[in-house]
Symmetry: C2
Amino acid sequence: MTTFSERTIKSESIYKGKIIDVSIATIEREDGERAKRELVKHPGAVAIIAVTDENKLVLVEQYRKALEKPIIEIPAGKIEVGEEPIKTAYRELKEETGYSTTRLTEIASFYTSPGFADEIVYLYEASSLEEGEQQLDDGEYVHVVTKSLAECEELIKEQRIHDAKTMYAIQYLKLKEN
Amino acid sequence: MTTFSERTIKSESIYKGKIIDVSIATIEREDGERAKRELVKHPGAVAIIAVTDENKLVLVEQYRKALEKPIIEIPAGKIEVGEEPIKTAYRELKEETGYSTTRLTEIASFYTSPGFADEIVYLYEASSLEEGEQQLDDGEYVHVVTKSLAECEELIKEQRIHDAKTMYAIQYLKLKEN
């Protein structure tokens, strides 16, 4: 599959931000053809499947400016520079939801938008939960809710749950139930 | 949940590209606090779950510059301006894989990266397939493969299948099998 590689001829930095970097790469394929690629660099994220003793999934509702609306998602957070993803996961679960766990297991990872971005999400499952207080960062407004799988499916129909990682997590729990 | 909205105070356009637009919004929450949001606009995409008569999932392998490697995904494509998503889906399935279908059904939609992007993927399932010839755009290099669910799970372990929409689609098919 020699036509598969895309060698970078030139890379132009457009923007270096707090969360994303944007660049335009001029690439050359092995047949000599050139093209442009719009690329977003992202540090990656973690997300956590946490189910309470009452068999409810821990979720957070927050405003997503990119969508101009609030949606309900599993707890998640951006990986800090140099931080091991699993450490981010322990930290974000505790900070965003107040719940903590003694053991997280990685169950999957996936690129969210391979057409233009390198964002990867590492998905963990918490083995047991202890309730506690949220510890939100300054300016974080996150509302914690817990929902059964049937309630989650209703929220998907209403498009209040409407993102890939959360919908993947709900399918994962349904498959586990079977 | 009055703290949920984020009013735009200022929006600075950073880049307007062929696929993505990038801007920085200054937002104000209802408590008066201000913050910046890095935002990527994307026209949205479709993806298609197409299973052959031999019960194999139709997949495409292509180089993803954002990841600097090829990965194997379900067929997908960006929605053109003004195009109905389902039309994009009929077109992309045929062009990318050669397979065509008389009926697509929307089974889900999801935002891929709600933290910074508005990209939405509409996921369709093809009800029956007819084999034909690929009709790739100039400069598209897409290698079609068909795989059983067991083979797909191996490819996930090898991280050759490694994106959210494809892994969601595989879970969907597993749930359907049960």
